[in-house]
Amino acid sequence: MQSNNGYYGEFGGSYIPEILYASQQQILHAFEEAKNDPTFIAELKDTWQNYSGRPTPLTFCKNLTEHFGGAQIYLKREDLNQSGAHKMNNVIGQALLVKRMGKTRVIAETGAGQHGVATALIAARLGLECTIYMGAKDVKRQYPNVFWMKQLGATVVPVAEGSQTLRDALDEALRDWSSSHENSHYLIGTTCGCAPFPEMVAFFQSVIGEEVKEQSMAQFGQYPDRLYACVGGGSNAAGIFLPFLDEKVEMVGVEAGGKGLELGQHSIRLSHGLGSKGIAQGFATMFLQDENGQLQDTHSIAAGLDYVGVSPIMAHLAQIGRIQMTYAMDDEVVDACSLLLKKEGIIPALESSHALAGAFKDAPNLPKESRIVINLSGRGDKDIFNVAKAMNDATFPEFLEDYLADYKEHLADNQGEA
């Protein structure tokens, strides 16, 4: 979706400290050139295919469809990307752009760690230095991802300021970029931030929707009737929705309802009047903020949806009514995750389980001949600890205790050799 000079309706724009002006202009021009350069596009497609495994399948879910007795349910399998999430589509695109601009280092913010791991993977492959900013709370919640980032050679910096989550990581990444812009690129993981990041990330993610177009025509001879995607920053939703904007396709975005609708308990920015327009972190969008314009804490069981702002593209499409916005509560999300596991043998990320939960509510009431596609943006292996806890699995603590005892013994035994 082309922006109007960086704006989508009244959202977007470029509100950055003056120190970043030249770097931002450089990205703006480099992206404009690259997207019109067949060599760049060919390299992008080649890397998507041979490194990340694209195209990802469009999977029909027979058992779920029978279970609900309504719409025919399909999943777009972004969980099968290298790194296990749609994040890979964007990092490949931006990292190739970094090489093109002649920069040698990438900085990224990460919430759940998926974007951090994806960035660390591509940085390793392309020989780029890599620094990942991650809220100190998220470092604790998602340690397995931190472990992999470090193993991949990235420097992981826990951010202990503020709420110690994604938005603080984003602030800190911007601060790094303010001093390192000459050799570093800020590799934003979602369709947020100053222009041209929302447009650029949406461009790289649109491969999702483009593939769904081809695959739906091939599998059932027409486009789907409805699309579902979870909305954190908004990149997987932008990816599957935008190619269908001019088609007769309904689109539903699902935000994190968290534990309840009180401020601080959820991440619902685009419906039910909970968010309001603000200008921060480089762009104008709907934020969760108080009456004095201070951004507020958010919550979701899925760290990747736990963000105070949202893509200006999503904010605009929601405002003009082109997409419908709804939300799913933490417990509904765990139920949806569980249902997909049992019915289809697929382990969804908790982020993506929001899209499932939203679709499962509608599916029984939709006509049998209608077809819906849910964007399964990531796989759930990474969530094993949180899902076990949410499902009140009684044997997991025993495993952890035994494993820890064994681990410590192993470390003690090997200390002499080190």
Partner: protein, 262 residues
């Protein structure tokens, strides 16, 4: 001519360089921050740059970030009360001036038109909003022009030459020259300068229609002395806050006096 620029020009007749000291409103409490501002004004600070805290201050380093978060931690700060408080302070110290610094969002939520009107009423003549670039500030500029308030533009050592010339020519009250890359204060995110500060300031001086203030990285008397004859105002922020955090008003005042009164 700009009231702010006039004030600077007149004061510069008596002093080789003016002082602008930065204080975070509400840190550690509203009253303590106002007392600290009054102390600096009594000691002869020509300007106070009052920062209204924002939850996500992306252009600031750890010292100021911590103060902003501290100020917001267990009290609700309003722009309205801040303007009233610092307006009164300005009237108590008529030989000095107060500039308001913040990030765009709290000001946007308060209302830009109301903000500028209230600033005019309280004699807050300069507005510094580091995340509002010139191009995005059309609305604010119009309100400011109608009320005799000056939005303060920032330039940096990496601002392209043609843009630097443009921003310098657009400056009214004063032009805020960032002395180095990075964020405010001592931080791991500090870049060096590519060119010497002298060359940078000479380039700016050749275009500027307004007085020049220099900030970022000013911590010692030598830094202030080096600006004499090349700039009009030395802006001191994080170093002063570091001193204040270390030993309260006494330590802060010691630093201020060593930089400007010795």
């Amino acid at each position: 001519m700009s009231k702010l620029a006039n004030y600077i020009a007149e004061k510069r007749q008596q002093k080789p360089i003016l002082s602008m000291t930065h204080v975070v409103y509400g840190y550690p409490t509203v009253q303590e921050s106002l007392d600290w501002m009054a102390t600096l004004l009594e000691a002869g600070a020509d300007f106070i740059e009052v920062q209204f805290p924002f939850s996500d201050p992306v252009a600031d380093g750890p010292t100021i970030v911590a103060a902003c978060h501290g100020a917001l931690h267990d009290q609700k700060l309003t722009v309205e009360q801040c303007l009233t408080d610092i307006g009164k302070l300005g009237r108590d110290f008529p030989n000095s001036r107060i500039a308001l610094m913040s990030y765009l969002n709290p000001m946007y939520i308060y209302g830009l038109e109301k903000l500028v009107k209230r600033c005019a009423e309280e004699n807050i003549l300069g507005l510094i909003l580091p995340d509002l670039p010139y191009e995005q500030a059309g609305e604010l500029r119009a309100y400011c022009d109608g009320n005799g308030i000056d939005p303060v533009w920032l330039v940096t050592p990496v601002t392209p030459k043609d843009r630097l010339a443009f921003l310098a020519s657009e400056a009214r009250g004063f032009l805020y020259c960032v002395a180095r890359s990075g964020v405010t204060g001592n931080s791991k995110h500090n870049g060096g300068t590519q060119q010497s500060l002298d060359e940078y300031l000479a380039e700016i001086n050749s275009h500027a229609n307004a007085p020049i203030g220099v900030g970022f990285g000013i911590r010692e008397k030598a830094h202030v002395d080096a600006l004499k004859g090349k700039a009009d105002v030395a802006i001191i922020g994080s170093a002063l806050l570091d001193a204040y955090n270390k030993g309260g008003k006494e330590e802060g005042l010691k630093l201020f006096n060593s930089l400007f009164n010795s």
